[in-house]
Symmetry: C2
Subunit: 523 residues, 2 copies
Amino acid sequence: MRLPAGLNQAGFDSACADLRKIVGENSVVTAEDRLSAYDDPYSPGLTNDFLPSGAVSPASVDEIKAVLKIATQYRLPLWSISLGRNYAYGGAAPCLSGSMILDLSRMQAIEANEELAYAVVEPGVTYVALYKFIQDKKLKLWIDCTDPGWGSVLGNALERGVGYTPFGDHAAQLCGLEVVLANGEMIRTGMGAMEGNRTWPLYQGAFGPSLDGLFLQSNFGVVTKAGIWLMPEPDSFSVVELTFPREEDIVGAVDALRPLRLDGTVSTATIANWMRIAATNTTRAEWHDRQGAMPKEAIEKLIAEMGIGHWNMRFGLYGRPKLVAENLKAVQKAFSTIEHVDFAISTYRKGETIRPEHRTLAGIPSVELMPLNWLGGAGAHIECPPVVPMVGKEVLEIYRRRTDLFNAHGFDHYCGLTTTSPRCFINTGSIIFDRNDAEQCKRARELGAALIEDAKAKGLGGYRGHISEMNLIAKQFDFNDHAAMRVNEQLKDCLDPEGILSPGKQGIWPKQLREAGKSGETK
Amino acid sequence: MRLPAGLNQAGFDSACADLRKIVGENSVVTAEDRLSAYDDPYSPGLTNDFLPSGAVSPASVDEIKAVLKIATQYRLPLWSISLGRNYAYGGAAPCLSGSMILDLSRMQAIEANEELAYAVVEPGVTYVALYKFIQDKKLKLWIDCTDPGWGSVLGNALERGVGYTPFGDHAAQLCGLEVVLANGEMIRTGMGAMEGNRTWPLYQGAFGPSLDGLFLQSNFGVVTKAGIWLMPEPDSFSVVELTFPREEDIVGAVDALRPLRLDGTVSTATIANWMRIAATNTTRAEWHDRQGAMPKEAIEKLIAEMGIGHWNMRFGLYGRPKLVAENLKAVQKAFSTIEHVDFAISTYRKGETIRPEHRTLAGIPSVELMPLNWLGGAGAHIECPPVVPMVGKEVLEIYRRRTDLFNAHGFDHYCGLTTTSPRCFINTGSIIFDRNDAEQCKRARELGAALIEDAKAKGLGGYRGHISEMNLIAKQFDFNDHAAMRVNEQLKDCLDPEGILSPGKQGIWPKQLREAGKSGETK
């Protein structure tokens, strides 16, 4: 077990004893067997670099305040998680080994309002739980969920996660946060800063500065509650699935999508390359038996035999049936100029059963994990998706550069382009590897870094990253000699002067660990 | 002339001499006649409480940095304005008398991108200038503007101003800020924190915390540039104007609007009570000749003779003609259940000339000021709009309470309800008065305070307020014993330790003025 820097075993034991007095005997764990639940399940061979010393699970804001007091007293770093389902980005594991996990999963309260289409959730509420809550109460509301739906609604939104419906930009649906700061101060943002103000979950602004953004992908506070906007159940929806046969078709596909996205015809859309489809339904061994990246001919054979496109676009159209029909016409017209495009349309009226493969487009969560069996073994993946302009030729250029990098590292190129924001894509590029294979892990790490460096070379930056890559990505934000990071650090020192909250998250280290943390010496 | 606290005439003169070396001889003013341009044109008799000592107009970020250095050296408070058109909220006038105006109107650079539908503007860019820029370049883009369009695009968005098109929530369209902090550090937020990142105006998030919100309605930094999302020119649009004859019709009108607003059929919508229409087109003397609020019978006579509703709702439907027609049907169906509702529909195809009264719904700015001739004299108005849930019966209740307050103070009730956010209204309640009439000014101030107190009593808070009301409104945000303000103050001390930037804005005072500022002793 890794102890927190500056604490010996006796000090740590004493801190744990004090914590147990607050949260109860069973809500502090330190034994190895219990702690492995907090390991990064997809770690590329780096589990021992990111080891927690224990975990504490408060059940209320008052308990959190008391925990923070003890942590401050002992200089015990706390790594906050909602449910720790931040898979591909580190799971529950901390940037700083020896941190204690501040596990908020016991906080599971939900409120929902049908008339004004919102919910208020605590960190422990999963998509599945929120969905069930709404179904049980027969509220005519949809949620937007990730795939899978076992993660935290609040946690995913704070990490700027994305989904598949018009409410797919999860951070954009946040309306009102409750936050406990390192000093134990509890605030509510926006209109919630007024006692009993009913517009807290209705209006995203504030009187004065908006503090909400400070707590996204952040270690400035512990978010204990959030308002989240929900979508009124639409009268109908159509799933539009388009396939484009050739690599270069992405240019026309993106340029046809952009005006539809900008004028609101299409909301969230996802584009998957051949491998994202193939890896979901097959294994590599079915298509190719040699090491290294699959050659072009094998890919073409796969595409032909699976009957998929090199590119596969998918989105929903939502609303009154006539409106959906009208928008569908516009969609068909826009994409019809692209040679060999193939359309599949599935339409659902309110109340009709939605086929499993279309459920996330209706905010129906499943608990199935992303299939990671492409290479066999203990499948895992890591991600550092850059934000890419929604311009066809730029997307193609970046795709080809990334294909080269994947291939040079012996991997097939898995590419997803998600637009929850109308002018850009988040370009996921899952590096799938066998986490029990040290050589694959090494190549995965090297490819991850190479992709991050390549994005920077093209003037693009990551929207999120694995705990092992956070320093590297943060360092790339270098405008005016890293001025934004200096401000982040200034705010960190202001809001968490003892540096107890999630040290190292998104490359932001507290003063006493700043140099060591950035250089990786804290591992 | 009011000198800044702590500076004598010699010190102030020395500061001005140093500033002139930076910005040029003519870009520092102190003489009374030139300074009156910075007075609040709608001050309710409080001009002398909010007097600047001078104004300095830098033309670049480098000049701003140098100005901040001098201000820090002399402890010279600077009140930042873009163009100072914050009418009804204080205009260009500072919260703290003796502040020097930091006038950014010389910074007028514009970039625009048609393909990705955005602009990047400096503080001195007016709606009119941005509109002209786009027209001159024949870009197929619409802006969203306020009424009138002479104000700053950037300044209005930072104050969370609102407009009339689907892009009416101006702060929500901001994407990427450039900010100079008090210490002279210049940052770019979001993706702009990476040198040369082309997604700066495309993606609203960041790697790590979002700092953008910190600079809304704020005195934490000087915003020098902002990305702002624009709307692609639609193929057509229809202006829908609905009138509802009776006061109580607002219940059904709001409840019919809400589902259309939540599902995106209707975007920004504005509801005006009888007086908002009457005051725009007539004067009170035409309808009633006695002092005090107009009696019910006179109001009914006015409504009948003008052929308007007690309530008058207006919004645009935008898009392909068939889509607009389809949405129009849904709108008509939704409102048809309300007795005596009257519809007027005006449809424009791309390229058709839009009638003057519908131009703001197409983002076409005019420079006509809001008519303020209702009571005659030197018309002025102040505002402190609360944020109100979009629920019919709540809106009616608040409306009646506010009518009683307007009337008790001898004013007619001017009410506007704007929804740029789909779950709430910003409830403007213009207090129109003759600024040359001391008694009216006094009543206006008293009514302003009474409305603010009444909102608080109903659990509602102001979204914005006049400089003379900022302390009062800020104080109402009392959750957890004003915890949010303590955090704002902590951030203020962190980002602007010398307290030189816009002291008192939105009730946030720097450390050395905190007690005096909040208690009003600094006036």
